[in-house]
């Protein structure tokens, strides 16, 4: 894992990407009890989000480093990593405001729990809903901050809908 994080920091230091943050399942694992998830989702900020060139440059750089692509992921030091451009305002904010952490002495960035929750709501798949309530139950959440984010990104209604569905179960 350490080598994977060093490779991610390398991408930023070499200017291939502007910024990155760990999100998705592994991001959630940072805040709650570990659960089964398959890859490391890394959201990146790199120039124009509609321009796929940063991803091409990134893949080229990693291939030169001996990493091999596998379907939509790229294997960095044995860990499947999926790079996803931050393609909307919420994701961009989540990457920008991610918190700095240290893993095995290596600095990295993970999205805040409040942003992760908002992204789960926005994405809205069955597994997002499952994770959403798990995170809500187990993590220390700044409710005021979460509420502000949900309001700003027009997700309050969806949040209430999910709450109702949960109660109906």
């Amino acid at each position: 894992m350490k080598k994977t994080l060093i490779a991610l920091n390398d991408l930023k230091n070499k200017g291939i990407i502007d910024e990155y943050a760990i999100g998705g399942g592994m991001g959630a694992v940072f805040y709650i009890e570990p659960f089964l998830t398959y890859d490391l989702d890394v959201f990146i900020l790199a120039g124009d989000e509609m321009d796929l060139q940063p991803l091409a440059a990134l893949y080229q750089y990693l291939k030169k480093k001996g990493c091999r692509p596998k379907q939509e992921q790229i294997i960095i030091e044995g860990i499947p990593v999926q790079f996803l451009p931050a393609y909307n305002k919420l994701l961009k904010e989540a990457v920008r405001e991610a918190r700095k952490i240290k893993v095995q002495g290596t600095e990295t960035r993970v999205m805040t729990v409040e942003h992760l929750l908002a992204i789960m709501l926005q994405t809205g798949r069955a597994k997002d809903r499952e994770r959403f309530f798990k995170v809500l139950e187990e993590a220390d959440i700044d409710r005021a901050k979460l509420s502000r984010i949900l309001k700003r990104f027009d997700l309050l209604e969806k949040f209430q809908k999910w709450e109702r569905l949960k109660d109906e179960k």
Binding site: P34, L36, T37, R131
Partner: protein, 76 residues
């Protein structure tokens, strides 16, 4: 036979208490330790997948398959 009364509420509360204590400990583990656990879970899922012929997807457990339910194992 002696009529035993079981405090079900108490038992449930104790079970819940134990579970939440365990969960609290898991939540507080360092990230690197959590990643180790995730990797172990992935290996376990792969091993189960070999037996059932299907792999679980994320948190959504997708077995048993129809073939497995019928007492046979194999890919669907």
């Amino acid at each position: 036979m002696k009529n035993k009364t079981v405090d079900m509420n108490g038992l449930l509360a104790a079970k819940q208490h134990g579970k939440s204590n365990f969960r609290r400990q898991q939540v507080k583990l360092p990230f690197e330790r959590k990643i180790e656990i995730v990797v172990r879970l992935q290996k376990l899922a792969a091993a189960i997948g070999k037996i059932t012929g299907r792999k679980p997807s994320g948190m959504t457990w997708r077995w048993p398959t129809r073939k497995f339910q019928n007492g046979k194992m194999g890919k669907t």
